[in-house]
Symmetry: C2
Subunit: 358 residues, 2 copies
């Protein structure tokens, strides 16, 4: 198949993108579990409109699998257990695979003990943290997911890339509705916002990035590091990043952010030694499920109907994402040019049908 | 003893303030457990310089104990248990008493199961959330504490007081050092900041408060509600407030913030039906303690020595508080005029020696 270089907007259905990703992973030598975990993680991003952590990552992951950063045939297994806690060794496999397995185990522990937590070792980039929190909520459990990542974000008053974007994700089941789903980087904005604004030549929002001396800048070309959430109160965002750092790197015995090799390379052959952390809680261990459900429903109804400024609507965490998901499930998704191009290249390389061919 | 009305700065030692508070509580009819729990909670605030949640609350708590909002002789007990989880009924007693008991239990659960969580029901204002996280860290456990409170904080794009200041606190033990201690309201600033700036006639920082239509204002006299942490990214602060709300009110079966009677009254006779939530984790359940300690030490050393902007110093969560504690342990604390006056009045009422008499 000749290499296509699409220049006009390219659309594809979620299902065809999903199949394509799986086929590419298998063709690249990943085992089925890796193909499944990595694809599910990316598809959470693409389905819900968190495109920075969606299928644009496919070529990145393939490169890692081929060159050695990610183990394509990992033996993911519990390395230790204590009561309601476990430690999972990802064997340098894909972070999506490892974290879905870890959350499955946390759910199992929570079912038995009311609460369960799993520390993940020897893992790699896990994509959108919300995918794992959502996995818990989808089974009726409250879920949390944390990770750290290569340094990008300064500390409050700092002038060094110290923490990663270190997300915190939490999802809560809602009866007869989409879960409450919260997934935030502890920096003010994620790094791809800077990249995007750079490519668009747009000014960054104030208080989101700093130059190499730690001075805030709105010029995306001057931006060297991200600012922690909070602006003047950035000690709050830095503290929240610290929670993710401590749970994901200290409690797991894995690399602190400032020790992690850069995600974009150039080294794609060395495992990055990432940790992560997931936690699940069973509502029924605390109170009657009907009471829990009724309270969540009332909380969300009151929230969504509460007075807003101007003509705006107040949204609950996840509401924006569910809307995007509904649209993309129905209408497919428009792939950005870079992703469409990399899909075409991967399709050519592995003699596969890209998902956007009519 | 005649009522004193001190107008010049009044200083007292921490020990004398502590004794005074306990004596006042006992004289007001509280049992010893209440006197102990409430005093310890306030003293955490006063010792560490979190004065908004320190001993300035003594008259407030006494009023609640006398008029019926707070049960002065509560039977605080576990109402249910499941695995590594418990539910504690505070019997409308003081939130400090209840939450210290709850964290004791969470620590016990974590010692046995690796992790433990306790939902607190029928409680009241618990003061500084960090006190309970610190209790865990002081015993070698990672601790978290959450609560919700009467509505003050709008949602992102909202025009209604929806959440309380809904804090998140986390503390992590550090070998041969003060714990890492993080305690933040999920609003940009706590409410007392508005009150303070109002009394000083100062402009508020941008993005911290809104008028009754939800428009941000820097005029403390116009401020009707607080803004969630994050400014333009206030959906993050609102989501974090949601975590505290869900754990503290939904999971406990207690009142959502918009249902909670106002803290300043006028009703001081009705129990407020607050919930709260504490969690503890045992590091040794996850990895070798020496490895954990070494990583925390390295993390903090790197952080504190990292490059800063201008002549500033980068601080870890808690560093500011430990400095204040050191100073106040040595030099005592200056009581603000209102607190000094209320102490004098309480001393007179109960025929006690106020802590600042030479």
């Amino acid at each position: 198949m000749p290499t296509e270089h699409p220049t006009s907007p390219v659309r594809a259905t979620l299902a065809s993108i999903d199949s394509f990703c799986r086929a590419v992973f298998m063709a690249a030598g990943a085992d089925e579990a890796t193909s499944d975990g990595a694809t599910r993680a990316m598809m959470h991003g693409t389905r819900l409109g968190i495109d920075s952590h969606g299928v644009r990552l496919l070529p990145h992951y393939v490169k890692g699998l081929i060159e050695g950063r990610i183990n394509p045939q990992p033996k993911v297994a519990l390395s230790s257990a204590f009561g309601a806690v476990g430690v999972l060794d990802a064997d340098n496999g894909h972070g999506g695979l490892a974290t879905f397995v870890a959350m499955d185990h946390a759910i199992e522990l929570a079912d038995r003990h009311g609460i369960g937590a799993v520390a993940i070792r020897n893992s790699s980039h896990f994509g959108p943290a919300g995918a794992y929190a959502l996995q818990a909520a989808g089974q009726g459990f409250i879920g949390f997911a944390f990770c750290n990542s290569d340094s990008f974000v300064r500390l409050h008053d700092g002038a060094m890339r110290f923490h990663g974007t270190n997300p915190i994700a939490c999802a809560v089941p809602v009866e007869n509705g989409n879960p409450w789903l919260f997934d935030m980087a502890t920096s003010a904005v994620p790094y791809n916002r800077v990249q995007l604004y750079r490519s668009l030549g747009k000014s960054l929002p104030a208080g989101t990035a700093s130059d190499s001396r730690g001075y805030d800048t709105t010029d995306p070309d001057e931006a060297n590091m991200l600012a922690p959430l909070g602006g003047e109160f950035g000690f709050k965002g830095a503290g929240l990043a610290g929670i993710s750092e401590i749970l994901s790197a200290v409690l797991t015995g894995m690399k602190l952010s400032f020790d992690i090799a850069p995600m974009p390379g150039p080294d794609f052959s060395t495992p990055r030694g990432l940790g992560a952390f997931v936690l699940a809680m069973k509502p029924e261990a605390f109170l009657d499920k009907h009471q829990f459900d009724a309270a969540m429903t009332r909380y969300l109804e009151t929230l969504r109907n509460s007075p807003a400024r101007d003509d705006l609507n107040v949204m609950a965490p996840g509401d924006r994402e569910w809307k995007v998901a509904e649209d993309r499930e129905k209408n497919g998704v428009e792939l950005d040019p870079a992703t469409a191009q990399s899909f075409a290249a991967l399709a050519a390389r592995y003699a596969l049908q890209p998902p956007f061919n009519p």
